[in-house]
């Protein structure tokens, strides 16, 4: 679920940094996924692509490859796919984000710092 090498490098900056970073990531991504859903419902595929791109970048930095891949698919379909938006799978993004949040919380617990 999490790229261990990426996570370990982030951990090298200290446990306080890691806890703050995960909190910042979840706060930022919670807001972005709300905007993603609202943009999708409004038929704004340009905004859908831009937001998915943003989440892809930060998810990859925290080692969340599956979420980054789901965002990549949304971004590509938003830019080049079906203009009705039927090919845009927001559920996959939301599902992978939930999994990543859980995995990050478990990793923080495992390394002995509170999420």
């Amino acid at each position: 679920m999490i790229d261990e090498a990426a996570f370990d490098e982030l951990r090298s900056f200290g446990d306080d940094f890691l806890v703050e970073l995960v909190g910042q990531f979840t706060e930022e991504t919670d807001a972005l996924l709300r905007q993603l859903r609202e943009s999708f419902d409004a038929g704004d595929t340009t905004a859908v692509g831009r937001i998915a791109h943003n989440v892809r970048g930060s998810a990859g930095q925290l080692g969340g490859r599956a979420l980054a891949s789901a965002c990549d698919r949304v971004e590509r379909n938003a830019i080049t796919g079906d203009p009705t938006g039927r090919a845009i799978d927001l559920r996959a993004v939301e599902l992978e984000y939930g999994r990543l949040r859980l995995a990050l919380a478990e990793r923080l617990t495992f390394v002995g710092v509170a999420p």
């Binding site: 990426a6 930060s58 080692g63």
Partner: protein, 133 residues
Amino acid sequence: MIVPAPAAARARRLILLADDSTTTLAIASAGLEQAGYDVVTATRGDEALALAHERRPQLFVLDLEMPGLDGIEVLRSLRADPLFAQAPVMLLTSHMAQRDVQAGLDAGADAYVVKPFSPLDLASRVGDLLRCR
């Protein structure tokens, strides 16, 4: 015999990081600060340009997709400004297509780094760019 470094070499270098993701800013800042750089951050392209004139950084790390002005627009503004025409600029982005890389380099970027990046490697690349100037 220990030869003291010139004052300019001892001064901490200031890096301007611009990215619309605060998560990415935090990770990049951690790597650069650990390597001994001072860092200022912006989440918008227009904010980055204003901050550049206020703080006069020695190097820029720019995301491509930002509100206000995108990274290429910021880069072109820097290259047109005598204050920053020669400043090292690194583009840091999730866009990995060759045409995106070429567009960045054609606009005057000195380096192009694709996300996800290692913050320690990023600091190393920044050091390389500063030594080349």
